[in-house]
């Protein structure tokens, strides 16, 4: 399966769109610093705020793609979610599961590799953004509302693991 990718540009506002969704490029410095910021503001729940913002911004993009391209089955939707992750530059994902939950893994990761380029390895996983992304993919695939899935990062490439691993569980 290979998803459709259509870039467009509004020559009035100078904004860029990916398959009709307004997107913006940023670099690994920005993403790593935003993640570090989230950890520095853990007292206000910032890591989860980051994950929830990812879930809430990714879900409409996926739902829109499914509707426009006639993607109907849960398996197809999971596959689109996996491919979209690579299209937007976040890495190489594998995912499988059912309505009750499943597993996902990353063999390449903008977040982990970007953090390592900036600061080196660390002892704990920190891919809050991808937790939110995976929650959006599973909720979209199985027709659930936001916050239906708990995504836990069990292993992170940033700690030296060969792959990042996530478990997904229906609440």
């Amino acid at each position: 399966m290979s998803i459709k990718v259509e870039h467009s540009f509004d020559d009035q506002t100078y904004r860029h769109y990916l398959n009709g969704t307004l997107t913006v490029m940023h670099c690994h410095h920005y993403m790593a610093l935003a993640t570090q910021l989230a950890e520095q503001f853990a007292d206000i729940g910032a890591p989860q705020i980051l994950a929830d913002a990812a879930e809430d911004s990714i879900r409409p993009m996926l739902d829109d793609y499914f509707a426009k391209n006639g993607v109907g089955s849960a398996d197809e939707k999971l596959a689109v979610g996996v491919e979209y992750y690579a299209v937007i530059g976040m890495g190489k994902m594998q995912a499988s599961g059912s309505e009750a939950g499943g597993q996902a893994s990353l063999s390449a990761s903008h977040m982990d590799q970007g953090w390592e380029m900036k600061w080196g390895k660390r002892d704990t996983p920190m891919n809050y953004w991808t937790r939110g992304y995976i929650a959006a993919v599973f909720a979209a695939a199985f027709g659930k509302p936001a916050r239906s899935y708990v995504v836990t990062e069990e292993a992170g490439m940033i700690t030296g693991a060969p792959e990042s691993k996530f478990t997904i569980r229906l609440k």
Binding site: I44, D52, H110
Partner: protein, 193 residues
């Protein structure tokens, strides 16, 4: 001749960021991501709404700092990129001031903010105006263009802060007007720290 924003935009706007076989976008010496703009706005707004008092002030400074460091490192990569050297540099006739104009042309072309330099006193002060920027898409009741603030300070650091990478944090930027607050444009004032 000086740097013509519309000419730069026309030549550089055709950017098509797309993950490679590893799902990564390595460019300008960094890894690029291409996320829904709404992610950044939602995250910023929800973080700000969750922080109170002194923590909110610290958070605002941290949000600017994220963009400042990003803008400094990636901005330096962009200014030295093949694209910038081939499209912008042939139009540069006024030194650092023109390089800055080129940087804002790229900033515009790649969708961060339709922006340009309104006033500049070289090495001392710069006023930026933006007539469209994604950080204005939410209307939270406060200025929210932390990314433009940080990147504007970073661009001035690159132009007048000394040799890279030692010029970071030479300048600061405040937002004085914002479309997100009902103003006609966003206005950003860069001064020495």
């Amino acid at each position: 001749m000086t740097v013509q924003r519309d000419v730069v935009v026309k030549q550089l706007a055709d950017v098509r960021p797309l993950g490679n076989e590893e799902g990564l976008i390595p460019q300008f010496g960094v890894l690029i991501n291409n996320l829904p703009a709404n992610f950044w706005n939602l995250a910023t707004m929800r973080l700000l709404d969750a922080a109170q008092g002194e923590r909110r002030k610290e958070l605002e400074a941290a949000l600017v700092d994220c963009a400042h460091q990003c803008g400094y490192n990636t901005g330096y990569g962009i200014v030295n990129s093949e694209e910038f050297q081939s499209v912008v540099m042939p139009m540069v006739t006024e030194g650092a001031k023109d390089v800055l104009r080129g940087a804002y042309a790229v900033f515009t072309a790649w969708g961060w903010a339709k922006s340009g330099i309104a006033q500049i006193k070289e090495g001392e002060k710069m006023v930026i105006r933006a007539v469209d920027y994604y950080e204005a898409d939410e209307k939270p009741g406060y200025h929210m263009a932390y990314m433009i603030r940080g990147v504007s300070a970073a661009f001035f650091d690159i132009a007048y802060g000394g040799d890279y990478p030692n010029g970071l944090n030479t300048f600061d930027c405040e937002q004085t007007q914002g479309i997100e607050m009902g103003d006609k444009f966003g206005e950003f004032v860069v001064t020495k720290k």
